[in-house]
Symmetry: C2
Subunit: 449 residues, 2 copies
């Protein structure tokens, strides 16, 4: 059973190992998400890691379904894919219990996904997202709720209004703009939407040249002028009258009124925002980092009423969004918003002279008081035991030897301040619990670790 | 954008959808696991969903790596597998930071896995496990710790000692038994181990016939007698002297002494316990349900010191185990140990006469007090709104209309008892928080939801 050769200890390309110090950051973000969406009445669900590939080919768009999925044929000849997103899975689940669910159904999950992309900063092949959706309500109220929830999530991480902007558009307004205002046919409109979607990734000259091509020689002078008006519009009021007075524009205005009432101060209209996926049917939005060093889209969402129809159910009003782990982590780093996170283990017991039965008994008593505690059972020198506790970022350490056992008074050390004091069992318990309350204020969601 | 045909709303074969009521059970089990292992100083980690296939072919055994993996070739021609177990991944991670980690490294994860098996009760193709391992310590202490942790986990779910048994054996003792006592060569020993592994799945007659075949005609009379002695042994004391006095047997005896000191009362020696996977090197154990209706192995673990070596690191003392979600759920059901779980949403606001701005304001105020609350924004009849709150298992409901807004006194209803009373905002907050404390006693880990 000797291995033939040594395998690499590196994770598979584009995936990450989460060692405890990385997992702490991940859990801080997951717990903050969970806390905020649960405060707003969203309930957690889970969906399978694999779905039939056709679930994605039908509606997600060619790039995602065709080029980016991890698809394969299983041993029973089914063509399946590792989920590249959650929206089709939750639509399938809602379609499967269309009659049984209570509405509005507010649902969330925190899950991992895979896409075959070139790994780069902020983009991994395996990635984690919060997906949070409300099913069963038409009109602007659920849209205002989801966008408000996006703002609440940002604030729960400590972000202030100047750190992010929420850009909003509407697919119906986009369709009206492409058809009625710019005079494009369906094929041209589709091309123009894709071009707008890439607008921030190409130069203004390239954008103009491609747009002119789509219009064709005859229409391009007028078309480019009209596009310039769209791009310059900083609010609905700057739009040309025929757009501003359209039914779709009135939907957008209603939404902005609700957002104002809800106190969302950093939502702006952006006529160039498209969202790549094909299934959106109304409002679309994206949250942008305002930091010039990290001026990227953090996450987005929108209304997608028809997706349950793919699974044989009547369309249902649906609005959702999906913040990602990696972009959130980069945002928190760039704005210096990540709290100092320590181990979930609160006490490390250092054992002198192999007094294990006393050390294990003390650990058991602390656990009965709800304290997370580990015991060093290596039998190593004191110095090495102490170093290990510090390396693991455990906030407190207790030394247990024969004297401590007979006196019931233990040397207790704060590993952050290096302060030492002799304390009774009861004082140790209250010291450990005091730290939690301080961290609660600090870290918001430490209870959910 | 019309779909070509309707897709099935069923999940992929052998996988499960977790709707909120299913996810509550899953989270109750996950949170109980997390709480217990964190009390014992274990820290959470995460590993990728995919690994190179060779990680499993090298050490996990032919059945798991060859027949049961979801393996495929990625777009970069790498042969990968969806993880069928966690042990190789965490061994890879420890090998990758052999020098940097603090020891003993106590690590756990809660993750999903896939195996291509025939789905049946208690066995799904996608399944969830707690994996909890201690790295860096030789000898029986970490083995006693992990087995003690297994008992603590069972007790945290409300199991009493009569509901489960922990059966223990040792790979070194198994090897000694096969070679020295039964006189088998390496190939015969491997066949005999596999046969013992299937012992509870075949008839005693089949077991005897297969064993006789392995011994061969000449040796089978003596061999079958010796096996009968092994099977009859209820403790180490019942073993033949040459086994009982072996070095391997002394290891087992030391372990039982530590378990007795730690108060683990339901551990028994079982000379027929093998554990299927190839990587174990010392103690192996399995937790069995004692219920005659569900008399199955719930989970197990053991010592596997060499697995980091696969990734180029020096061997390191390692003991671990992996309780599964589905077997735990079946155990809790069969012993009637599952608590009544309600929604994480604590309050549903029912809105009269479209008084949304008041309802949303009340919801916001409740959230600021830490209460999880949803608002019905459908504009439906009162009766339908009430039904939806009850359907979702939300414990409380508040009615908001014009009278409530002007008086500041709300009709507050307990959906479980159907009791109604008129309460101020402050009284509502304390009523909701009172319920949490009651549930804490009841459900152990409700804080971690």
């Amino acid at each position: 059973m000797t291995p033939m050769s040594t395998l690499s200890p590196q994770p598979y390309k584009g995936t990450r190992d989460y060692y405890p110090e990385d997992k702490r950051v991940q859990n801080y973000i997951f717990n903050t998400w969970r806390k905020v969406v649960q405060l707003h009445g969203y309930e957690e669900y889970g969906a399978p890691m694999l779905e039939p590939l056709e679930v994605y080919t039908a509606k997600s768009g060619q790039e995602l379904a065709g080029e980016q999925t991890y698809a394969f044929t299983d041993r029973g000849d089914r063509v399946v894919a590792i989920r590249p997103e959650m929206t089709p899975s939750i639509s399938r689940m809602v379609a499967g219990r269309r009659q049984e669910l209570g509405y509005p159904a507010r649902l969330f999950s925190i899950a991992n996904f895979m896409r075959y992309e070139r790994p780069q900063r902020g983009r991994e092949r395996e990635f984690w997202q919060l997906n949070t959706d409300i099913f069963g309500v038409d009109g602007p109220m659920p849209e205002a709720e989801i966008i408000g929830l996006a703002a609440e999530i940002m604030k729960a991480f400590g972000a202030t209004n100047d750190m992010f902007t929420i850009r909003i558009n509407n697919r119906k307004l986009i369709d009206f703009t492409m058809g009625q205002y710019l005079g494009l046919d369906a094929v041209q409109a589709q091309m123009m939407i894709k071009l707008f979607d890439r607008k921030n990734k190409i130069s203004p000259e390239d954008f103009r040249d491609h747009a002119a091509e789509i219009f064709g020689a005859e229409n391009s002078p007028r078309g480019l002028q009209q596009i310039a008006v769209l791009i310059a519009a900083k609010s609905m009021n700057d739009l040309p009258e025929e757009l501003r007075t359209s039914a779709a524009a009135r939907e957008v205005q209603e939404l902005f009124q609700l957002l104002e009432q809800a106190g969302v101060k950093n939502a702006v209209f952006d006529s160039t925002l498209m969202r790549g996926l094909d299934y959106y049917t109304g409002t679309v939005f994206e949250v942008f980092d305002t930091d010039p060093q990290n001026n990227r889209s953090l996450f987005g969402g929108g209304r997608y009423d028809g997706l349950v129809g793919l699974f044989g159910a009547e369309p249902i009003g649906t609005v959702g969004m999906a913040p990602g782990l990696t972009t959130t982590e980069l945002f928190l780093q760039s704005h210096n918003l990540l709290p100092k996170l320590v181990s979930t283990t609160e006490v490390g017991i250092v054992v002198l002279n192999n007094t294990y039965s006393a050390a294990l008994k003390l650990a058991q008593n602390l656990r009965e008081e709800g304290v997370n505690v580990e015991v060093d059972i290596t039998g190593r020198k004191l110095e090495k035991q102490i170093k290990a506790v510090i390396k693991k970022n455990i906030p407190f350490m207790i030394f247990v030897g024969e004297d401590e056992v007979s006196s019931g008074i233990y040397m207790f050390k704060d590993t952050m301040t290096a302060q030492e004091e002799k304390l009774s069992f009861e004082r140790i318990v209250s010291k450990v619990k005091d730290r939690r309350h301080i961290s609660d204020d600090d870290e918001f969601a430490v209870f959910f670790d």
